[in-house]
Symmetry: C2
């Protein structure tokens, strides 16, 4: 939806970060904030922050900065914070459980509705308020689901993905090392813990004493 033409992907990836930090400020009853302060807090260059914000118009005031409440309200709309996205989680191992416990309820527009696992001993429980069903029930239970979190063993990744896509999922957050294949129109973000660790080690060994932060 929306009319926002051409917000760079790099910017879009930073929006949730800004949003969360603005929430913190608001909770601390701060009224104003400058791009410089924000920069120190979220470790993003202040010019980049101003540039990011400017895609949405002139949100601040020269010599003053940004009004926290106004900015927060603006981001709430932009990030559709009032429009909850239902999410399923597949694979209730340690990683999956971590997600369920976390369960983003605080200030988010995302809610994990159900979880699935192949292990019958896990079925029937509630973890972090989320019911766990057997994976065989996947197709029966999910209908209005657009996003899935995939925390299954790598051997199951493609198979489960196919089933998710079949039922209409349009986004998958993939924590398995498998680079899954999906039809066009389905978006996959890979978070590959082993790769993250390895590349951090590589950077430390080969790019000594230098710039910090190459995340995301």
């Amino acid at each position: 939806m929306s009319e926002q033409n051409k917000i760079p992907q790099a910017t879009a990836r930073r929006l949730p970060l800004y949003y969360r930090f603005l929430n913190n400020l608001h909770a601390q009853e701060k009224f104003r904030v400058s791009s410089k302060e924000l920069s120190e807090a979220v470790k993003v260059d202040s010019a980049t922050i101003r540039r990011d914000f400017s895609y949405f118009g002139a949100l601040g005031k020269k010599g003053y900065g940004y009004n926290v409440e106004y900015l927060l309200g603006f981001f709430r709309k932009t990030l559709d914070q009032d429009d909850v996205t239902n999410i399923v989680l597949i694979g209730v191992g340690n990683l999956g459980t971590a997600f369920l416990q976390y369960n983003f309820t605080k200030n988010n527009n995302t809610k994990i509705e159900m979880a699935f696992d192949a292990d019958k001993s896990k079925v029937g429980q509630e973890i972090g308020g989320v019911p766990v069903y057997h994976i065989d029930e996947l197709e029966d239970k999910i209908s209005d689901i657009t996003v899935a979190i995939l925390t299954v063993p790598v051997s199951e990744a493609q198979n489960i993905t196919d089933r998710l896509v079949q039922t209409g999922a349009s986004g998958i957050l993939n924590f398995t090392p498998a680079r899954i294949t999906v039809p066009e129109g389905v978006r996959v973000h890979h978070i590959d813990l082993a790769v993250e660790l390895q590349s951090l080690v590589y950077f430390i060994k080969h790019y000594p004493l230098d710039e910090v932060d190459g995340s995301q």
Copy 2:
């Protein structure tokens, strides 16, 4: 160390991915592989793969592709697979436990040596073969540690970070939502699960039916 001048960071982040896939091929007793095949498997454009490899010299052969064993050996050296990096993990919650169970032993140069937690009921256990110590013992136990995985509650993040830096850590893989502050020379990679989920949702809502994969 090393003489590798100027490998782009984007390339460096992909190296572990290539390495792992080459290992798979080797295990399947494949002898050769083309950039096109690799491309399909790891979802990276084949020209990008060839370009990435070319930073290390001419590793392939025209009309043939790459010899799996040779390439694997080359990457093993490049990624220092024979030089194990010792890692500590701080915070043995669900996420931390997931890491410990995972424990990268398969084909990696990274080994989690010890874990720490503030909860005494966790101290003394071994999880995934890794002993868990009390956080008070941190400074006593770690000495040759360069990399730490941070899976503690957000409120503890900066405090623990300072202690890690104090003992000489030069890299931190930070899973807390806090954007921690470190002195120059210390490298931090943030993996922010809530942000990943939010930004996936944002992309799905605002960039419909389009390109796939915006990960890392």
